[in-house]
Symmetry: C2
Subunit: 138 residues, 2 copies
Amino acid sequence: MHAIREAMAAMHKRSEEIPPVSKAVESLVRQVIAQVADKWTMLVLEALEEHGTLRFTECGRIVGGISQKMLTKTLREMERDGLVVRTVHPVIPPHVDYTLTELGRELSAAFCGVWTWAETYHAEVSAARRAFREREEG
Amino acid sequence: MHAIREAMAAMHKRSEEIPPVSKAVESLVRQVIAQVADKWTMLVLEALEEHGTLRFTECGRIVGGISQKMLTKTLREMERDGLVVRTVHPVIPPHVDYTLTELGRELSAAFCGVWTWAETYHAEVSAARRAFREREEG
DNA sequence: TTCGATACGCACCAAAAGGAGAGTGTCGCA
DNA sequence: TGCGACACTCTCCTTTTGGTGCGTATCGAA
């Protein structure tokens, strides 16, 4: 899990200077994480994982509570990052559909643990919130 | 992974009305996910997982690139959600330290898969981005 | 002939996120 | 006397996020 940090630490010890390659990799990993650790991205990812190929409006309906603007943006970013493929069928009215790539499916699988965590422990989280609120107020 | 949605679908089929309990649970899961799927939360979580107990400034230094404001906010929210314990030692100068709870450690473990994904596939992501940019421009 | 369906783009606006920097309180050290 | 250490808080400011509503293109149906 911490391969990069460990490698950096090792290299730092060895040469007393942080190599730029690892710095670039670390920042990229962070950037990717920051991108992907997004509410809408996670929700769209899950919708596509569950339903396979989806059309724009359909996807929005399944995700629920997302505006067209955010759906467009999220889908575009996911396409840019290689998580989904966008297929345009040049017919009228327009027909566009979205499918997860292998990369997207892998990410979805990686997020599986977080979903499980949330489903398993949400009661503990609300209990903690209640306790916190009482401690603050009382 | 999709236990809640499946349960809801089953109940919906059976009674033609969505029970409010599951709706509440689903919204709570979403809320928890939205909270937890945050860049700073993930980074702080990892820092604490790696280093055990950390003090405020120390934690900020390890996370890197986080402002005091965001560090305070992130830590407070994590405390509220029962992910960390905040211990104040009433000495001067002040000494406060933060440790993951069991819940926090579980979440950290759940995020492990996402970190691994990012470290494994970041090259594919940048390749996808380059390809996307070229397709857009060219 | 006009309406609806689809998948957006665009413009405008409100709210939230987030950064920079100054202030706080007390002690020990110089 | 005055500065630094720590863990913040507070204010001011900019940037990002996100919502709403309108425009668009074209075809078939009413």
